[in-house]
Structure formats: structure tokens, C-alpha cells
């Protein structure tokens, strides 16, 4: 494991550098799309910690994403807070929610876990609609006018500036990727994989599986919340659709496509799928069929995903 530390770090750093350089190379009207993809890829990266490394499939992560989104958007809208404080609130909200949800859902496993997370997410989504007067859930609300510029030292960053947004998204993805890389190679990461491979054995070796699963669920939830917060800031929009089931299925799809249990997979999956959906939506209103088709084909033929397949064939040392 140790002999490949440098190439691994180099690859990950190079990826961030490429993404940073992209904003110079690609035309401006693509910037927003790439920024969105980076944040969504970070979302998938958090999801992958739970699915790929710990072996827990959740269908409820949209509630954590939306908790971050609303936890940021509502204070911005109603309290006129600055963006950094609002994002902090969003992340805090998602941590609280994921801890509470984790304490309950982790009493189940496998298919039950899937259904329970789905149901809790449904409750969250429907509540957003039910309290519509407060959350403006149905149509959503726009944040322009509420996103005040932030000043760091002598520099003023306008949050409506596309360049600022791009780099905010890049920083978010970079941070989440770094967290993911560090976690999976740490002693905690080793235990997570052990739990995925054989939970009974892991327990009888003296590890507390519940504690580890809760920890990774909360980390995953917090990452999701951060992404929801940042997504709200860079798109200036908050809406209930991000709490709906499709946004729980997306990270599952992106992770499966990119490669579950690989650090680079989620970015590949998120990028590939988001572009595909974007293109498909220009041809037909039934563009979600590509989501369906991808899921079926992946689970039948390519369970390792793109990066997983690459790793198996050529680079077994990739984390």
C-alpha cells in the first residue's frame, strides 16, 4: 500500500489542477455546467464513502443535500445572513439530521436500510411541500439579491461572479476529494472495508460496527449538506425538487457508473451522466430514460463501473 502513495497523491492533485485550468480553456457558457458538475461530484464522493467503501446503499441522501440547501437558503432569505454563516448553518443542519436519521436507520441493514432511508427522505421532501408557506418549496425561491459579496482581506468576492462560483465549486470538490482520499486510506477506512466485506467477522475481531457505520453516515451526510449549501449559492436557487427521490438516485447512479469504492469514480460518473442528461434533454422530454437505462446496464454488466474496471485491469493500487 505504501509504495504507491506518491503516484496516488500526484494523480489526485493533477486532477484538481486540470479542473482549475479548465476554466481558462472552456467557453464561459460552459462554466456554470462544470461548476454544477463539480459540486454534484462532491455529493457523489460523500455518497461513495457509504456505498462503495462501507457497503451501505442508501436511497435517502437527497434529504441531507436538501437540508444543507434549505439550511443555507432560508437564513439567506429570511435573516439576511452572510453566505459563509449560512453555509455553516446548512452543514450543521445536515449533520444534525444525519446523526438523528443514522441512529434510527442503522438498526436495519441491507434492503430494509434502503427502504427506511427512502421513507425518511420522503417524509423530509413531503414536509418541505407541506410547509410551503415557509419553505416556498413548490416553486422554490431565488437567492439573487440575498447573496452579498464576501471580503477576505483586501479582496472582495462577488458571489454572483461566474469565476467566483467556479472556484467555490472547485474548492468544494477538492476538499471533499481530499477528505475521501484521506479517510479511505486511514485506519477508519480499513475498518469500513472490513465491515463491507464481512461484518460479523469484523465485530468478533473487536470493532463496533454500529459506531463506524454511524460515523461514515454522518460524514457522508455532512458532505451532502455542504454540497447542497454550495449548490444553492452557485445557482442562486433553492427548491423542493432537490429533496425528491431523483436526487437520491443520482448519487447512486453516478457512483455505480464511475466505480463504487474508488475515489475518482464519483467524479467520472457525475460528469458523464450529467452531460448525458443535459444532451438528452435537448432531444426529448423523456430524457430520464437514460437514467433508467444506465442503472439497468450497470447492474447487469458493469458492477465495477468505469474507474473500477480500470483499477481491476491496470492499477489495483488505486484507492
Amino acid at each position: 500500500m505504501n509504495d504507491h502513495r506518491r503516484p496516488v497523491l500526484a494523480i489526485h492533485a493533477a486532477l484538481i489542477a486540470v479542473l482549475a485550468g479548465l476554466q481558462v480553456v472552456i467557453p464561459p457558457f460552459h462554466h456554470t455546467l462544470v461548476a454544477r458538475i463539480m459540486v454534484l461530484a462532491a455529493y457523489a464522493t460523500g455518497y461513495n464513502l457509504l456505498l462503495g467503501y462501507t457497503g451501505l446503499m442508501s436511497l435517502g441522501h437527497a434529504m441531507f443535500f436538501a437540508a444543507g440547501m434549505y439550511g443555507t437558503g432560508l437564513p439567506l432569505l429570511y435573516l439576511g445572513l452572510g453566505a459563509p454563516q449560512a453555509v455553516l448553518i446548512g452543514v450543521a443542519a445536515s449533520i444534525v439530521l444525519s446523526t438523528a436519521v443514522g441512529m434510527l436507520t442503522l438498526r436495519t441493514s441491507g434492503v430494509s436500510f434502503l427502504i427506511v432511508t427512502l421513507m425518511f427522505a420522503q417524509v423530509f421532501y413531503l414536509s418541505t411541500l407541506y410547509f410551503n408557506r415557509f419553505t416556498l418549496g413548490d416553486q422554490g425561491f431565488v437567492l439573487s439579491g440575498h447573496l452579498h459579496p464576501i471580503t477576505i482581506g483586501p479582496i472582495r468576492f462577488a458571489l454572483t461572479d461566474p469565476a467566483v462560483r467556479y472556484n467555490l465549486a472547485l474548492a468544494t470538490f477538492g476538499g471533499c476529494l481530499g477528505l475521501s482520499l484521506w479517510l479511505v486510506r486511514s485506519p477508519i477506512g480499513r475498518v469500513l472495508v472490513a465491515i463491507r466485506e464481512n461484518e460479523d467477522r469484523t465485530r468478533l475481531l473487536g470493532y463496533n460496527p454500529f459506531a463506524y457505520k454511524l460515523l461514515v453516515l454522518v460524514i457522508s451526510g455532512a458532505v451532502s449538506g455542504l454540497c447542497g449549501s454550495v449548490y444553492a449559492v452557485i445557482t442562486s436557487y433553492v427548491g423542493a425538487s432537490f429533496a425528491a427521490i431523483l436526487y437520491s438516485i443520482y448519487p447512486l447512479l453516478w457512483t455505480l457508473l464511475g466505480g463504487p469504492g474508488t475515489t475518482l469514480g464519483p467524479l467520472v460518473g457525475a460528469a458523464a451522466m450529467t452531460y448525458t442528461v443535459e444532451v438528452a434533454s435537448r432531444f426529448t422530454s423523456s430524457y430520464l430514460i437514460v437514467v433508467g437505462g444506465a442503472l439497468v446496464i450497470l447492474v447487469m454488466r458493469f458492477p465495477s463501473g468505469i474507474v473500477g474496471g480500470i483499477r481491476r485491469r491496470w492499477a489495483p493500487w488505486l484507492p
Binding site: N2, P187, A194, R201, T202, N208
Partner: protein, 251 residues
């Protein structure tokens, strides 16, 4: 070892019982294992041996009765804590991490012992860990196999791997559930030698069907039948016991 510690049995069960649905798998077992011994637990299929042992290591919750380890009541203690206390169990059907390498398998076990403080969960000396793993593998003769996938090992080696993982935890009580099942005669002989070597530092409780191994290794034997402990004693005493003969050879 202090005088008091020598007096307290390492493991003791009092009236330990387990009922599944309507079936009494274990009835009121009073069982003692002394420190430093190799104890064999034998009996026909369905006698309740695995159930008894599963209650001891925490996989199954008893219906009634108590379990004491080093004088401490662990009846309500969770399974993973018992491993930390020093009770380590290896499965009847070998349960290793099949998709991980042999090295990883042992590393997971060694890591548990080495992780003392909270900080260790975040950063651990990987070099030191790796050399400990090498040492553990060498002990069981699996030294060259570190890079192989555990699932690709032949059956006998998988069992050895599991034992070596258990030993990496430096257990005080090692519980082996039919460790020689599926091994060749040579492998069994090697295994017996290995067991005698490690018995210096660890108390061993062994569920076995192979009478040769039982007679070879154990100082004392406990016999179970239909959920009850029917006899306990040295190999000679057990061989001469009427009850035991009836159970094994018929009336």
C-alpha cells in the same frame, strides 16, 4: 500471575441456558475453563456446543444464566467488547475476508490490538503495522502468501489464516469451532503442533469431532449431549465414562 487470579477461573458460566422457539438448545450449563488449559468440548451433532460457545463470545444472547470472564460478569456485554476483553472466536465455516488479501486480513486484526487511543483511529504507523503482520503470518507459516486473495487459498490455509488473525489479537481465551474440519491428515498434525506451541500463552477452548486431535491436545474434555454437560474430566476419565460411551456408541 497473582494468587487470587490463579483461583478465579478464566471463564465460568452459571446456569447458562438458551431456548430457540420451543427447542432447548442449551440447558442450565455450569461450565468452567481454567487459565492455561487446552479444553476440548465434544458431543454429537445438535448437542449444543456451538450454541454454548456462541453465547460465550457474544453472538447469541442467552435466555437465562450468567457468564463470567476473569471474575467479571459479561452476560450483557456486547460481542465486540468481549473481543477487547480477550475472548476471540473463530468460525466453524471459516470466515475470513475473502476478497481482501491475506496481508489485509491480518492487518485488520492487528490494527484492532494496536489502536489504543482515539488518535490511532486517524493515524497509525503503517510501517510498524506491516511488520507486525509479517510476523503474525510467519508464525502460522503463511509468510509468502501476503499478496494472495484470502478466498483463493485452499481450505486448510484459510483456517490457518483465521487462527492467525485471532492470535494477532493476543487473546486470553481462544475459542476454536471445529478447526480441523476439512483438513488433510498432515495439516491436522501440523495444526496440533501449532496449537501446543501457542497454548503457552493462551487458554484454548476447542470444539472438535476428531477424537485423535481431542485426545492429543486437550488436558481436559467436556462432553455435551442434548443441551446438557454430561461429563467432564481427563481423556482417560472420559474414555472410561459409561454415559459418554452410551452417547457415542449407543445403548
Amino acid at each position: 500471575m497473582g494468587a487470587v487470579a490463579a483461583l478465579i477461573a478464566l471463564l465460568q458460566t452459571r446456569a447458562l441456558a438458551k431456548t430457540f422457539g420451543g427447542v432447548e438448545a442449551v440447558r442450565s450449563a455450569d461450565f468452567r475453563v481454567e487459565r492455561g488449559e487446552i479444553r476440548a468440548l465434544i458431543g454429537p451433532n445438535g448437542a449444543g456446543k456451538t450454541t454454548l460457545v456462541s453465547m460465550i463470545c457474544g453472538r447469541i444472547v442467552p435466555t437465562s444464566g450468567r457468564i463470567l470472564f476473569k471474575g467479571r460478569d459479561i452476560t450483557r456485554t456486547q460481542a465486540f467488547h468481549r473481543a477487547a476483553f480477550g475472548i476471540v472466536y473463530t468460525f466453524q465455516i471459516s470466515s475470513v475476508f475473502r476478497n481482501l488479501t491475506v496481508h489485509e486480513n491480518v492487518a485488520i486484526a492487528v490494527q484492532r490490538r494496536v489502536m489504543r487511543r482515539a488518535w490511532d483511529r486517524i493515524a497509525l504507523d503503517q510501517q510498524a503495522l506491516a511488520s507486525e503482520v509479517q510476523h503474525a503470518l510467519a508464525q502460522t507459516g503463511l509468510a509468502g502468501l501476503g499478496g494472495r486473495l484470502a478466498g483463493s487459498l485452499p481450505h486448510g490455509h484459510q483456517k490457518l489464516l483465521e487462527v492467525s488473525m485471532a492470535l494477532a489479537l493476543q487473546p486470553e481465551l481462544l475459542i476454536l469451532d471445529e478447526p480441523t474440519q476439512g483438513l488433510t491428515r498432515e495439516e491436522i498434525a501440523a495444526f496440533s503442533r501449532f496449537m501446543r506451541a501457542i497454548a503457552e500463552g493462551t487458554t484454548i477452548l476447542l470444539i472438535e469431532h476428531d477424537m485423535q486431535v481431542v485426545l492429543d491436545l486437550s488436558r481436559r474434555i467436556t462432553v455435551m449431549d442434548q443441551g446438557r454437560i454430561i461429563a467432564e474430566g481427563t481423556p482417560a476419565e472420559i474414555e472410561a465414562n459409561r454415559e459418554v460411551q452410551r452417547v457415542y456408541l449407543g445403548p
